[in-house]
Symmetry: C4
Subunit: 199 residues, 4 copies
């Protein structure tokens, strides 16, 4: 499948950038009304192939594939249920995302950057807010918090889990990648500015 | 075309360095008196091919190609009109360029570096000034400010748009790349020095 | 041999990441009760092949191979003798590991990160302690200190040698690599946080 | 020629690491009593081939090759004349080397690192001093200062030119590369420590 092949290639590239250390991160692709391809648990992200993906329904039941789906499957499914346009979800552990999630409290506000337009803004003069949720091993609890947040904030482009990593989504693999690259770029700029300004 | 092929290869390399995140950046090549190849709007810069370029005249009208030319075409054309020797214009969004553009006011002064010679200076003892323009979504307004500045400052080697990125040009692809690499190197040094000296 | 081939590939990748500068670092693979493949002394880690490894017994005597085994062979053998499940030992000189080993006193405490789960923890709420030993050229002395420490701390996942580098191990090449990537990621996060918080 | 082929490959790798931006840097290989291959002036270091090298005698006169030898040829020849064991000289413009040369006064002292052993020390407890010379466009003047320094300090392993870059040498290409990687690693560690300790 074309989109799955494209996603596998993206995952390998992101591994090489160092955003998926130690088998971390997970990725999914919505196929139709009731099926989602999702990466397996605990697999080296530089060596993933199309055959490694698990196929689950929207309740997370395994429909096909021999691998155990990612422990964070429920977060992916929550995004698909709350954001109907989302067809691809990406979750990575870049150092910048993890560091910035520990420095801020419950959100990061990104302002003034031209690259904000990657999130659909018409101008650099807008603001994009990235919420930060406390990390938890209780996926139902996290999914509930995420669902409530997305219900209240329709314009959400992604979120951080504290000391953990970032989630982002798009209407295709390429759009999710574009938003992920934009967010990582903005986190890197914000951290460099914080270092220099001594914040 | 040889120069276009060379430019495509450079663009892919710059994408891999992380200077063109999220489909950002744009590049052009002046072909003759009245035609310029320019990258299309919103295309992944790691996957660009020669066929993706749009051909425009010096007023920005599309002469050939199926893609919409970059929204910043007018800035490229302004450079070609004000700097007759320029045959290639490069615009990238490296984190260093973006960060330094937010730290300084209206210009950055680079002094004392051997690599200043990449801009045609005879010695490291000269100075290169990189102006910073406020970012704007009004390309006519930005083009006017750029034109006025270049009219007054014939020795300009490039400029920054605040919170946005850097523009540079050269007499061929290789010279524009050389100047871009020099500028990025100098921005990186200046930022590291600012971090350490606590500025 | 499959595992040795896998290890050689990992070593080349780690060289390209800059964690094995100047022929530094060493790696070993336990084959059976009394034989260990170990990298030779002073060889460029980006150009290593399977044939470069020395085969030693658990006292460090050369059983096969034309190369001199790494000067740090004794540390590898101490790990294999104290941690029976370990089948692969990795030692790298990443800048982050070296820098953090000079900043802390005798240990680094890692807390709150999701990626701690790479070390077998069930939750991000645990703690992983990485001891730091004073560097020494006396391998018997170092091996004795390491042995004593591992005897007292069965849950040790790796250790630092001050101003030198990091050691880590796993039940296969892939697990050792996973733990190494996790540790490097955590060191990078801790250093960035230290820079920003001005510690 | 084998050694020249090896050197060309090293140069391309160093370009990809970002240590040779904007056609900067130069490299040479001593062939015999009176001939030295040296890189040409102003050539992209990622695209260099064996045929691009100029062959000069020990006074710097062109013996063969169509390219103009590097403007810094005299510094290479001074090293060969003062350090008879040197067969390969490398000069790069890494950001770390350039930044550290601006922070320190006339020398950098490197102490306590295991990797100091790359310079022939028996232990990490020694010290390596890297002198920093003021940059100059007068190569005869610089060569004279270098010659005087090397005459007084036989154990010199390399030197910095302020705001410019680093020079290092070795008995073969591989040894020069090893020393260069060690020095770059140590500069990176020193800069990170300076940033964190707020020096």
């Amino acid at each position: 499948m074309e989109a799955l092949r494209e996603l596998v290639e993206v995952i390998r590239d992101l591994y090489l950038r160092g955003w998926l250390p130690a088998t971390s991160g997970n990725f999914s692709l919505r196929m139709d009304e009731d099926s989602v391809f999702i990466t397996p648990s605990g697999k080296h992200k530089g060596k993933l192939t199309e055959r490694d993906f698990a196929l689950v329904d929207l309740e997370g039941n395994l429909k096909d594939g021999q691998k155990k789906p990612s422990a964070e499957t429920l977060l992916h499914l929550t995004i698909y249920s709350m954001v109907p346009s989302a067809k691809c979800v990406m979750h990575v552990h870049s150092p910048n995302a993890t560091v910035i999630s520990r420095l801020a409290n419950d959100k990061i506000s990104l302002k003034g950057y031209e690259l904000l337009k990657a999130f659909g803004l018409d101008t650099h003069e807008g603001e994009v807010v990235i919420p930060i949720f406390e990390n938890s091993q209780d996926m139902s609890f996290l999914a509930k918090k995420l669902k409530d947040y997305l219900f209240e904030h329709h314009d959400t482009v992604g979120f951080l889990l504290k000391s953990h990593g970032v989630y982002i989504w798009g209407e295709q693999v390429s759009q999710a990648l574009m938003k992920l690259e934009a967010l990582e770029f903005l986190f890197e700029c914000e951290l460099k500015l914080a270092i220099i300004s001594g914040k």
